[in-house]
């Protein structure tokens, strides 16, 4: 129970990171590898947000006057993750455009087959 309380978010985040890395290392299809990169990114983001969480915290927004600021969660990781999400989609979009070109050149997205038939 206390394990769940303390580590459930970390478990989720590192589960995603490990699954993402596994997909990248093992799979041969380029689109799938790119999906793995996306999952890895999500895991890293979830980890960063969990680092900033405070037990029984509230969002760091003073939406009405007189909110208790003592229990606000750390805003810095949230700002970092906003940045990381946008960087993540930028990398994914570029990777997909490369995948489309690669398919036009080789007629396959299987990285192993591509490696065999180059030059």
């Amino acid at each position: 129970m206390s394990f769940l309380n303390n580590y459930i978010y970390y478990t989720g985040a590192f589960g995603l990171i490990l699954v993402g890395l596994y997909i990248i290392l093992v799979k041969h299809n380029l689109i799938k590898v790119i999906i793995g990169l996306g999952i890895l990114d999500t895991g890293v983001n979830l980890f960063l947000i969990s680092v900033g969480y405070i037990t029984k915290g509230t969002a760091p927004i003073f939406s009405r006057p007189g909110i208790d600021s003592e229990h606000m969660v750390d805003p810095v990781p949230q700002a970092l993750v906003l940045t990381a999400i946008v960087i993540g989609i930028a990398v994914l979009a570029l990777a997909l455009s490369l995948a489309i070109r690669l398919y036009q050149h080789y007629g396959t997205l299987n990285l192993r087959k591509i490696r065999e038939q180059r030059w």
Binding site: I17, L37, L80
Partner: protein, 494 residues
């Protein structure tokens, strides 16, 4: 008052404006990068005189340092930004004529942004900001490697992108672990607090950061992408990737190790020894692979790996001599390798092939370009009177000055690498001048915009080679900035 933030803000603004200019005047795009980089060069040189006495610290947004992003323009940062602006300027002049096909406007925008990212990495004093600029550097180089859109270019860009993206995710995890422990992102602030943390909890973030940055710095097990990416990019981009991108990666590794984690000869000698071994391994692997190449650009790319190994080794000696030698070697590699890629680029363009054997008799067809290539090769091997000689000499002296048997053995191996390097470079020079008997080949020299940058590189290589005193002052204070982390912390946090 010259503000270091101009080094980043002005090129960034100009890069954003390129599509706007291109709406009115199509050719404007290619003149903006030289303009912006010339501006950067002037600002860096103005700053250089000032920072030799005191580092210039500016905060962004006007808040107190630990709570805002700040730029630290110390000797290291300004030295690097000057080199980036200088090499970038010369290569952008070269690209005026060299880049003809494809979406040239996009090429020039990406090129300028790549160099802005590199400048940001060397100037910033905040670890997450370093990550962001690192991403700018990496993502624009992925796109530029694929610029020619041929089979090889796309394939190597994909490889580069996947390895780079995994590296930056690891880097981000490392930053998250550091933030979780210390609650701050300012490098000086982290460095100050790190003394009180237990070594075990620091080891994992350190490994993650080094691995993440090491992908770009091409340290041995992480450099599978490099030969393909450097050889299939356009030659101007190969020059920048070999001459600037890996060096900036290596700078980031050095900054993280020396400043943040406080690795030094007195506290963690075994870790430095491990890095030195890694450096020598990188050197030998790179030089061996370069020796067996028939493709000239792949040969140059593998030789970059070897040089990076040598620089890493010199940095890992950990004495102020060693770090000075490493930085000197870094400068000399940047100048020589950029020159080599530029010269090789035009020879390939004329010969229509990247095979070394196809370059036979080029020495008579393009004498000036070949002369430039030869000077670059001799400098990289370390022959006097070129810049490679004093830098390699300094590294050898630093290794011998440690008076430790292991470093003497390692420097012997490094010299063995240099011999291999000499062998393959002399082979190419021999092919250029003494092979292929053709009675009247007809001289077709490269255009002037290509010759001017190469000429300036040659002049710099010779002048610094003859008077190394010109740069040693800057290099010495840069080395002491890297090694004296307490001064760094004090100057940032006040």
């Amino acid at each position: 008052m010259v503000n270091p933030v101009l080094l980043i803000a002005v090129p960034l603004g100009l890069a954003f404006a390129i599509p706007l200019f291109a709406l009115f005047w199509k050719a404007a795009a290619k003149y903006i990068p030289p303009l912006a980089l010339a501006f950067n060069l002037v600002v860096s040189l103005l700053l250089l005189a000032k920072v030799l006495e005191n580092p210039v610290i500016v905060s962004i947004g006007g808040w107190r340092p630990p709570f805002c992003i700040n730029l630290v323009a110390g000797p290291v940062g300004v030295l690097f930004s000057a080199i980036i602006a200088l090499v970038g300027l010369l290569v952008s002049i070269y690209a005026l004529d060299y880049i003809k096909e494809g979406a040239t406007e996009k090429y020039h925008t990406l090129y300028l942004l790549l160099l802005t990212g590199a400048t940001g990495v060397v100037l910033t004093g905040d670890i997450f900001n370093l990550f962001v600029f690192f991403e700018i550097l990496c993502i624009s180089s992925y796109a530029l490697v694929a610029y020619l859109r041929d089979k090889a270019g796309i394939e190597s860009a994909v490889k580069y992108l996947i390895q780079g993206a995994v590296g930056s995710s690891l880097l981000l995890i490392g930053i998250g672990l550091l933030y979780g422990q210390f609650g701050t992102l300012n490098m000086a602030d982290i460095a100050e607090k790190i003394a009180s943390a237990s070594p075990i909890s620091l080891f994992v973030p350190m490994v993650l950061l080094i691995t993440g940055l090491g992908v770009e710095a091409a340290i041995f097990p992480l450099n599978a992408w490099l030969p393909d990416a450097h050889s299939s990019a356009p030659s101007s981009i190969s020059a920048i990737l070999s001459g600037i991108a890996i060096e900036v990666g290596l700078y980031a590794v050095a900054r993280v190790l020396f400043t943040i984690f406080g690795v030094s000869l007195s506290t963690t000698p075994s870790f430095l020894l491990f890095l030195a071994l890694l450096g020598i391994l990188t050197l030998l692997v790179g030089e061996m692979c370069a020796f067996s190449q028939n493709n000239i650009k792949r040969m140059l790319a593998y030789s970059s790996i070897g040089q990076i190994g040598l620089i890493l080794f010199a940095l890992a000696i950990g004495t102020s001599y060693g770090v000075t030698g490493g930085l000197f070697q870094l400068v000399s590699h940047t100048l020589s390798k950029a020159l080599l890629f530029l010269a090789a680029g035009y020879m390939i363009y004329r010969a229509g092939s990247m095979e070394i054997s196809a370059l036979e008799g080029m020495g008579r067809k393009m004498p000036l370009t070949c002369l430039a290539f030869t000077i670059g090769a001799f400098s990289l091997v370390g022959l006097p009177p070129f810049i490679g000689f004093p830098s390699k000499f300094l590294i050898v002296r630093a290794a011998l000055a440690t008076k430790e048997a292991i470093f003497c053995v390692l420097i012997g191996l490094a010299l063995l690498g240099t011999v291999i390097e000499a062998a393959y470079f002399f082979r190419v020079v021999q092919v250029l001048y003494f092979k292929g008997e053709k009675p009247n080949p007809g001289r077709v020299e490269a255009p002037v915009t290509v010759l001017i940058p190469m000429f300036i590189f040659v002049v710099l290589i010779v002048i610094v080679g003859v008077y190394p005193k010109l740069v040693t002052d800057v290099l010495n204070s840069a080395a002491s900035e890297l090694l004296n982390r307490l001064d760094y912390i004090r100057s940032v946090l006040g």
